[in-house]
């Protein structure tokens, strides 16, 4: 083994490969003027990844001057934001991204983007795409704390209550009893008494969406009109108290990470699960019992209020060519049949009026009855609260509060101290 020979070989190998790869990169851009844009999404295969690919392919086939490349970002919206941060630091941002609602303010404060209003004005010379398709309510989801429209709502989800109907029937629980949280708590006690199994699982991802839903449905506000945290009110504390009692006192609700909790429900060890509509198709495919879903419970004498989940599409492209191409792509994604493909693949709800009312969607709903309660809840959906300053830390503080309360800390003092901490950072 000759030393020089080895080094030469190694260097030669590397150079050949780099040249080859460089050329591979070159050959991609065709002779004609084709605008390349990248679309960042969070859709794993179980969350409509195939739909994304299908839509991107269809767009590329029908739009010869634009080529879209889709990039999957693991770890949902949080993972996408991490990658986006690196991209921004290096100056090579994607052109159109999905921004999770929890990140609306952080995104609009720190990243450069083109609002849909500006895009419509610049490239369409009118705002029809926005005004004709989206209700005011839908648009309110995508506004930041200053009231500016940051993107267009794309993925919409609401929390619903899935039930193991065989278990409910076995232990004599009527579904109508489950329209209130008080009723759910009572039913969970019955189930625990009669079978020893858990009554309900309330989702525990790395965000407090479900807990926000509970507090909102008891009339509490997460933040008040001035943007300060206000959830440590008597209504907020009451809602959390019921949750804590179920977990700690009655031991009828199971406290466990999201994956394990949903597995427990599908395995028939938990009778009810309060989680996103996006889980519907996974549940449908996995259960060996009759499962159904109904609208989220609310508190007695209070109107049902749920925070919307999901994301919006926002244009982060910096050059006019890319921005125009991204807007064209975005409009394509909002066409009725595109939205239908999208919603069928993900279980999300259509963000536009026309898609929601379309006959194809109605047919799809009839075939997937578990999605219907989420649609019914849409009129009661409000934006997911994201705090204007230090919003990410605020969300982390709320997750910490949930952890503390579910291990037994006093609801009242935990919520109060969390609220103070968040407001100190505002």
């Amino acid at each position: 083994m000759n030393f020089k020979h080895v080094v030469k070989r190694f260097v030669g190998l590397i150079s050949i490969m780099s040249v080859a790869l460089l050329f591979a990169g070159c050959s991609k851009s065709a002779a004609h003027k084709v605008t390349h844009i990248t679309y960042w999404h969070v859709n794993a295969q179980t969350l409509g990844g195939a739909s994304v690919d299908k839509l991107v392919k269809k767009f590329n086939d029908t739009h010869k001057t634009i080529k879209v490349t889709a990039k999957y970002n693991p770890n949902m919206y949080q993972g996408l934001m991490q990658n986006l941060q690196s991209a921004q630091a290096s100056g090579k941002v994607p052109d159109i991204v999905q921004i999770g609602w929890a990140f609306t303010n952080y995104f609009s404060d720190n990243f450069k983007y083109m609002t849909p209003t500006d895009a419509a004005q610049k490239f369409d010379k009118n705002k029809d795409t926005i005004t004709k398709n989206f209700s005011n309510q839908a648009l309110s989801f995508a506004k930041n704390a200053k009231g500016k429209l940051v993107g267009l709502p794309y993925s919409l989800s609401t929390p619903i209550l899935y039930t193991n109907d065989s278990m409910l029937a076995k232990y004599g629980i009527k579904k109508s009893d489950l329209s209130t949280w008080e009723g759910v708590s009572k039913a969970a006690k019955t189930i625990k008494q009669k079978s020893g199994k858990y009554g309900v699982y309330i989702q525990e991802p790395a965000d407090t969406w479900a807990q926000q839903a509970m507090m909102l449905s008891n009339g509490a506000q997460i933040k008040d009109a001035s943007g300060k945290a206000a959830f440590a009110s008597s209504q907020g504390e009451q809602a959390y108290q019921l949750y804590q009692d179920m977990v700690v006192k009655d031991k009828t609700a199971i406290h466990t990470p999201w994956n394990q909790g949903m597995d427990d429900f599908v395995n028939g060890k938990v009778a009810m699960a309060f989680t996103t509509v996006a889980q519907a198709s996974h549940i449908k495919q996995s259960v060996s019992f009759k499962a159904s879903a109904q609208t989220a419970p609310t508190f007695k004498a209070h109107k049902l209020t749920v925070p919307v989940g999901g994301s919006m599409l926002s244009i982060t492209a910096q050059k006019t060519d890319q921005q125009k191409a991204a807007w064209t792509f975005e409009k394509f994604m909002y066409q009725n049949d595109s939205l239908l493909t999208w919603d069928k693949g993900t279980g999300y709800l259509p963000p536009t009026k026309t898609a929601l009312d379309s006959s194809q969607f109605k047919t799809y709903l009839a075939a997937n009855p578990m999605i219907k309660p989420a649609v019914d809840e849409l009129p009661n959906a409000v934006p997911w609260t994201s705090f204007p300053k230090n919003g990410l830390q605020a969300e982390q503080d709320m997750i910490d509060a949930r952890d503390k309360i579910l291990s037994g800390s006093s609801v009242s003092s935990t919520l109060k101290s969390t609220q103070e901490k968040i407001n100190d950072q505002q």
């Binding site: 083994m1 030393f3 794993a44 990039k71 999957y72 630091a89 991802p205």
Partner: protein, 273 residues
């Protein structure tokens, strides 16, 4: 020699450990042959009642498995070659030459082992981005092409080479690089293979760094593909993920079986006579 009966006690302990080690693997393989529904219905059953290849077929349809194996193989090979070559060279440099501040330099080299990945991730991303190597297998491999653990291991192995061999070669006027290529490296073959195998396997399973760099599905590696099947939001399809995990482990397993002799042989048998 101890009696056979005393041995049995030890063997029971060791077999127990084997059980703890292997049973999870059996569950993994077993689930990969179950449908989603069956995996929930018959949890304890290691042998599926209705074994199916549907997971593998789905994977084959949704991702280009062969291409991903190729991508992963290319990346792991590049990284391993880089680590082994730079490691051997540097170890020989430390072994053979004495210069001022050598101990400090060695300390600095070894200190790099202690740098956690989260610290270097973003600056490395910026460098690779400036070099225009984003979405390129070279961009993934380059920052990982040197590993101080390799330098440490190779140096320790080289120190075991009897000085008589190298000194007599030097006296005969053989230049250092010939000593390196013709004496040291061949003697280190078992170490090279065992250390290289570990580098390869770790690089094979790496996903944090490739996630940042690779964009195109066509350049994805297997661990990235696995991320595509893990989603709390949409629900994780456990059997499908396990099927992909089984596919992921086949090449490292093959490498292990082939090079097992070297990986497991003791130094005393390595021919350092």
């Amino acid at each position: 020699m101890l009696s056979e009966r005393r041995h049995i006690g030890w063997h029971v302990l060791l077999l127990l450990i084997c059980l703890c080690v292997i049973v999870p693997v059996l569950f993994m393989i077993s689930n990969s042959f179950k449908t989603l529904q069956e995996s929930y219905h018959s949890i304890l059953q290691l042998i599926p009642s209705h074994p199916t290849l549907s997971n593998y077929r789905t994977l084959d349809k949704q991702i280009n498995i062969l291409r991903m194996v190729g991508n992963t193989f290319l990346m792991a090979t590049l990284v391993t070659l880089g680590k082994v070559l730079t490691g051997l060279l540097a170890a020989y440099g430390f072994l053979n030459f004495h210069f001022k501040g050598k101990r400090v330099v060695y300390f600095l080299f070894v200190a790099t082992i202690f740098v956690p990945f989260t610290t270097v991730m973003i600056p490395n991303y910026l460098v690779i981005s400036k070099m225009n190597l984003l979405n390129n297998v070279l961009g993934v491999a380059l920052p990982q092409m040197c590993d101080a653990t390799g330098i440490m291991l190779f140096l320790k192995a080289m120190e075991r080479v009897p000085k008589s061999l190298t000194e007599s070669a030097k006296v005969d006027g053989i230049p250092d690089r010939r000593i390196f290529c013709n004496i040291i490296v061949p003697l280190l073959k078992p170490n090279i293979i065992s250390v290289g195998a570990i580098f390869f396997i770790n690089s094979w399973n790496e996903y944090v760094w490739p996630t940042l760099i690779l964009k195109d599905k066509s350049s994805f590696t297997l661990p990235l593909a696995l991320q595509n099947y893990i989603s709390s939001e949409g629900g994780t399809n456990f059997p499908l993920a396990m099927a992909l995990a089984v596919i992921m482990i086949v090449p490292p397993l093959l490498i292990y079986i082939v090079f097992q002799r070297y990986i497991l042989s003791s130094i005393s048998n390595s021919g350092l006579k």
